[in-house]
Symmetry: C2
Subunit: 115 residues, 2 copies
């Protein structure tokens, strides 16, 4: 895979790499996707699992991820109504990216003074 | 690589994955790193190569990447002085992440209405 091509296309036609990076470079995006890799989750579960996120941010991120067909949202007519979030196939296809990020993170720990 | 471990650690001790994601989830970060994968570059070259970035943002991003030892900055006592940026080994180690993002982007194009 020649990354060189990417460099030239960065400035001209729409660039899939740039679009993908825009999508996954949200502060919370990959953490949400990472959590959903293990299966369906409800809103409150997700809110507890993604360190530092608040309700407003989670609502916004989930809406964006749903609009980009990375996750899907299922509502159940229980009393009270319940909603579950899960990854679409497109979302699950991000697993290799997450695994490479995790490998890089473990092999290249940031020193305390770099945080 | 079990991503499940990550989920539990998301909320407790410092999490290498979360730190790595914070590092690489800057809007321009991975585009800058992607461009430097092909070799040393000067400021103006980088500014031209990263679509949409302006001088102030590039200065800020480069400072942060240098402080996190992802890139290194070399100044040359030419007239006028010149500065070159290149990836450290830690920066080059992000290549597999970039390749997986690129693969995902090519296999999962965002529809026009999702941009």
């Amino acid at each position: 895979m020649d990354l060189q091509q990417n460099k030239k296309s960065e400035n001209t036609a729409p660039c899939p790499f740039r679009e993908a990076m825009d999508l996954i470079s949200g502060k919370w995006t990959m953490s949400i996707i990472n959590n959903l890799m293990t299966g369906k989750m409800r809103f409150k579960e997700l809110e507890r699992s993604v360190a530092g996120i608040n309700t407003r941010m989670l609502v916004k991120e989930l809406k964006e991820l749903e609009s980009k067909q990375i996750i899907c949202r299922e509502a159940f007519a229980t009393v009270p109504p319940t909603v579950e979030y899960s990854l679409t196939e497109k979302g699950k296809a991000l697993r290799p990216v997450l695994i490479e990020v995790q490998k890089w993170a473990l092999n290249n720990p940031l020193n305390q003074d770099q945080l």
